[in-house]
Symmetry: C2
Subunit: 235 residues, 2 copies
Amino acid sequence: MTLRIAEIFGPTIQGEGALIGEPTVFVRTGGCDYRCSWCDSLHAVDSAYRHEWKPMTPKAVWNEVRHLSGGRPLTVSLSGGNPAIQDFAPVIALGHTEGYRFACETQGSIAKPWFADLDTLVLSPKPPSSGEAVDWDAFDACLKAAGDRPQVVLKIVVFDKTDYAWAKAASERYPGLPLYLQPGNPEVDPETPIETQDSLDRMLWLVDKVTRDRWFTPRILPQLHVLLWGNKRGV
Amino acid sequence: MTLRIAEIFGPTIQGEGALIGEPTVFVRTGGCDYRCSWCDSLHAVDSAYRHEWKPMTPKAVWNEVRHLSGGRPLTVSLSGGNPAIQDFAPVIALGHTEGYRFACETQGSIAKPWFADLDTLVLSPKPPSSGEAVDWDAFDACLKAAGDRPQVVLKIVVFDKTDYAWAKAASERYPGLPLYLQPGNPEVDPETPIETQDSLDRMLWLVDKVTRDRWFTPRILPQLHVLLWGNKRGV
C-alpha cells in the first residue's frame, strides 16, 4: 500500500489552533474531497498538482519523519488536503512505538478507524464562505470514530459576520469540544507577499467581535506561520 | 483588608503562554519583589507609580471583573507586579462561586496557600538577562503550595543565547512541567511604537534555534498582544 504525499517538512512550529507553537513535522497528503473557495493548500488539493504527489509506503513516510526530527520524538501533524481519505494507521503505529505523538487536521467529512489512535484530532468544519456545506452526520461519525483517546478540538476559520454566526451555532452543537477561532487569510497565492498588518487587522476584528459579544467560549488565535513566513511552503 | 491594584482591564485575549488566545480579564496588582532589567510593566512594579495603585477590597475587585465581563464566566488572570505578594484567596472564592476560572502569573519567588485554589499557575522564572537570580527553594515552595488542582506550567522569556541555555537547564529541573518559551521584548516604553517585523524576527530566531537543536520540549509562542497592540496599556 502507498500513500499520496504532497510534502513532508519540518521540524517547524505548529502555527494554528490547540497546538500552536508546538514543534512539529508536517505530513501533508495529496487529495481532498472539498474545494474551499479560499483554500491555501491547493497544491495538496487540486488534482492538477497530482504529478507532484509522491507515492510513499508508510515505512518511507515514517523514515522521512524520523530523519527530519533526528530521531527525537515530537508531534507529527497529518494534514492535507484531507488526510482522512487515506489510511494512516501504519504510520501512526510506527511512530507511537518510538514515542512520537500524532495530530490530524481534517474537515470532518470522512471518518476513519485510525482516528482512535491519534493523540489530537482537530476537526475544522468549513463555514459558509468556503462554498462547502458540512454533512453533520459525517462529522458526528468522525467524533464517534475518534472515541476517548485523542484530545478532540474544533477549529473554525472566520472570514466575515456570516461565518462568525455559523461558528457560534456549530459551537453550540458541540459544547463539550474546545473551540479555536482564527481569522481567514484571503491571500492564497504563495507568490504574493502577505501584508502583516492586514493579517493583524483581521485578528483584531475577530478579537473585538468576540469580546464585545461577551462570547468567552472560543480561543482566538492567528495563523502564526502566515505572520512569520507568509504563504511560503515548507515551513 | 484591601489589595493594591494597578489596573483591571478586559475582556481581551491572553497574549502569551499556555492560555494564549483565551478571553481574559486581567487584574494587575501593584508591587514586585523583582526589578527585571527589561520589565514591561514598571507601572505595576516601581513604587514611583504607587500613587496610581488603587486600594480595593476583594469584593470591589470582584465587582469590577464581573462588570467588565458582563457577568459571563471567563478566565481571570492575576498578574503584576508579583500578585503573590498579596492575598487573592477571597477574590478567587468569589469568582469560583460564579463559575469563573483563575490563572496567576508569577516568577515563583513567593509561595501562597491560595495557589492551590487556582485553575492555572504560570511560573515564569527569570533568566540571566533579567539581572535577577532565581531562588529555587522558593520556587519549589510555589510548586508545593499549588498542589494538584491547578495546571502548572513554566514560561521563560529568552533574550539571548545565555537565556536559552538557562531555559534548557531550568526545564531539565522540572521535566513534568509543560514549558513555554517566548522571545523577549526589549522595547519597554509604552510610548515607543513596536516594530512588528522586529518582534517577528526575534520569534524566528527562537524557532530556528529550538528546531535546529532538535529540542522539542518547549512550545514557542510570541507575545501576541505586543504584535496586536504594541506596548499599549489596557488591552
